[in-house]
């Protein structure tokens, strides 16, 4: 059962979100919720079936899903609540969250603190502008990775991969394992953009040719990709005429970079750094909006999951501390609520401790005039805290009542004080 208000709500359940939720619990936050739009926890790691995860933090070389499982289990043991298959649509700067879920429909939740951990998305063809036809058979490497590793579907037989990032190289090996032929990996930069170990164990081991300073200048094919035209580029990334080569293939994979996923951060009013594409954060991973924290690929693109987890821990700890301070503040406060014949009261809330120093004056207006003797009463439920007598009340004339210092003990017990005007 969902609560209306949580100490910490974490958006996204990749390694950053899982770590944040775990650490928030350990720091003392009571109600911690993860909202995840996928059907399961773990984020992008569930499709990264290759090993290489956890060497720094767990001192173990694990596949992505096994790495994620450690943290999923720990979150579960600690009593972190989870809302799956639910997409967060909007966040207000006051930390009100709007989410839509297939199962529970539209949900509105409040959080004392929020951790943004939505990860990143892949750059697509539109963002790198490759000319040519728009046939089927062009995918981002991460999409192909999901097809092959989770859904069990091979997107093609003969591949060209554009970009020498880690995901592209890892997919080159993966596709080779599944019986496909990877014709070429093309990289526009004069150097490898991924880790050199992936060049060795994914390309070199399987004789997959890599060409630096090369890009795709054209996609050929009508309904399906039939070939790509590769070309060498000069120092200014301009194609060098005469170096064109047609490479027959049925699928082109793009591994051309990742962009932090910050639609939601923007809506919450979080200031973004144009260089990283992610929020500006302080040492505790707090963004420009108080109480909103961020960690993982949403902040900047990491190449090692261990550091993502570490950032998640940090954000979770800060978020829990913030939430606990909010709780304390709220526990110190008593709400002042208009009762019979009262239109409004100022102030709306009062610090209970203020009575230790002085009487506290409440100012209000009535709704209806009463031309008779009345009581102006301040109540905690049915218990009278204080009252004062008045000869009449009129909407045009402000009414005041003082809560005396001697009511200190009575007020400590209250969450809400109601003020009403009744005939004597």
């Amino acid at each position: 059962m969902l609560k209306q208000k949580y100490d910490v709500i974490v958006i996204g359940s990749g390694p950053a979100g899982l770590a944040a939720a775990i650490e928030a619990k350990k720091t003392g936050a009571e109600d911690v919720l993860i909202i995840e739009r996928a059907k399961e926890l773990g984020g992008i790691l569930q499709q990264c079936i290759h090993n290489g995860f956890g060497v720094e933090i767990l001192k173990q070389d694990l596949p992505g899903p096994a790495y994620a499982q450690r943290f999923i289990d720990e979150a579960e043991q600690l009593g972190v609540e989870v809302l799956l298959d639910a997409m967060v649509l909007d966040i207000s700067p006051a930390r009100h969250i709007y989410a839509i879920s297939k199962w529970s429909g539209f949900a509105e939740l409040d959080a004392r603190a929020i951790v943004l951990s939505m990860g990143c998305r892949e750059r697509t063809r539109a963002q790198i502008r490759i000319p040519g036809t728009r046939p089927a058979g062009v995918y981002t490497a991460g999409t192909a990775q999901r097809f092959v590793n989770i859904e069990g579907f091979m997107p093609g037989k003969r591949f060209v991969i554009l970009g020498s990032g880690d995901i592209g190289m890892i997919m080159a090996r993966r596709l080779t394992f599944e019986g496909a032929k990877v014709e070429r990996v093309l990289e526009i930069m004069p150097f490898l953009t991924g880790l050199i170990r992936n060049y060795v164990q994914c390309l070199l081991d399987f004789n997959i040719p890599l060409q630096l300073r090369h890009t795709v200048s054209r996609i050929i094919g009508n309904s399906r990709v039939e070939a790509v035209e590769a070309v060498q580029v000069d120092d200014k990334w301009q194609p060098i005429p005469g170096t064109e080569e047609i490479i027959p293939c049925d699928t082109l994979l793009l591994s051309v970079g990742l962009i932090p996923e910050n639609e939601l951060s923007r809506k919450a009013g979080v200031a973004l750094d144009p260089v990283t594409g992610g929020p500006y954060v302080d040492e505790g991973m707090q963004t420009s909006v108080p109480g909103i924290f961020a960690a993982g690929n949403v902040v900047h693109v990491y190449d090692l999951v261990d550091w993502v987890t570490e950032a998640g821990f940090r954000a979770g700890r800060s978020a829990a501390k913030f939430a606990l301070a909010e709780r304390k503040r709220a526990a110190r406060q008593v709400k002042l609520q208009p009762g019979d014949n009262i239109r409004y009261i100022v102030p709306h809330v009062m610090d209970k401790e203020s009575l230790a120093e002085a009487d506290q004056r409440l100012q209000m207006r009535v709704i209806q005039p009463i031309e008779d003797k009345v009581w102006v009463e301040v109540l905690d439920g049915d218990n009278l805290v204080t009252r004062k007598s008045q000869r009449y009340v009129r909407p045009g004339e402000m009414v005041t009542v003082d809560i005396p210092q001697k009511a200190y003990d009575a007020v400590q017990k209250a969450d809400t004080l109601t003020v009403r005007v009744v005939r004597r």
Binding site: K39, I49, P65, N149, I150, E151, G152, L195, R197
Partner: protein, 124 residues
């Protein structure tokens, strides 16, 4: 046999040190360029018995997804990679699958087990 110098890249960790390996045939003489001891082990292994971790998927019946990812509990000899993949294509598990579950014992007689790398609940 004469001494030779071979350049290798250590893939044991993400640092990826370039190793300058002096050897006589398969006998290691010295390694330079490694940032830690594991680089020496790697060079030795590459000369005598190169091995790799292998990760892939196997079919599952009755799971929330049709596949479950698997990995070798330890590196296996490089020349056996494609034989192992062929073996794995024959495996079909029944959901639910537990992370760490042995999917194939002593694969190809290497002494290395193949393990599931995630929990896969039963489902549609």
């Amino acid at each position: 046999m004469a001494e030779e110098l071979t350049k290798l890249i250590c893939i044991t960790c993400p640092v990826g040190c370039t190793l300058e390996v002096t050897h006589e045939g398969k006998t290691l003489i010295k390694v330079e360029g490694n940032q830690c001891k594991k680089g020496v082990d790697y060079a030795e292994g590459e000369l005598t018995d190169p091995r790799r971790m292998v990760t892939s998927t196997v079919k599952v019946r009755g799971g929330v997804f049709p596949l479950v990812p698997v990995y070798t509990a330890a590196p296996i000899p490089k020349p056996l990679i494609f034989d192992l993949l062929a073996e794995l294509r024959k495996v079909e598990l029944q959901a639910p699958v537990k992370v760490g579950q042995v999917v194939l014992k002593n694969a190809l007689g290497t002494g290395v087990d193949i393990l599931a790398s995630r929990n896969l609940p039963a489902g549609d």
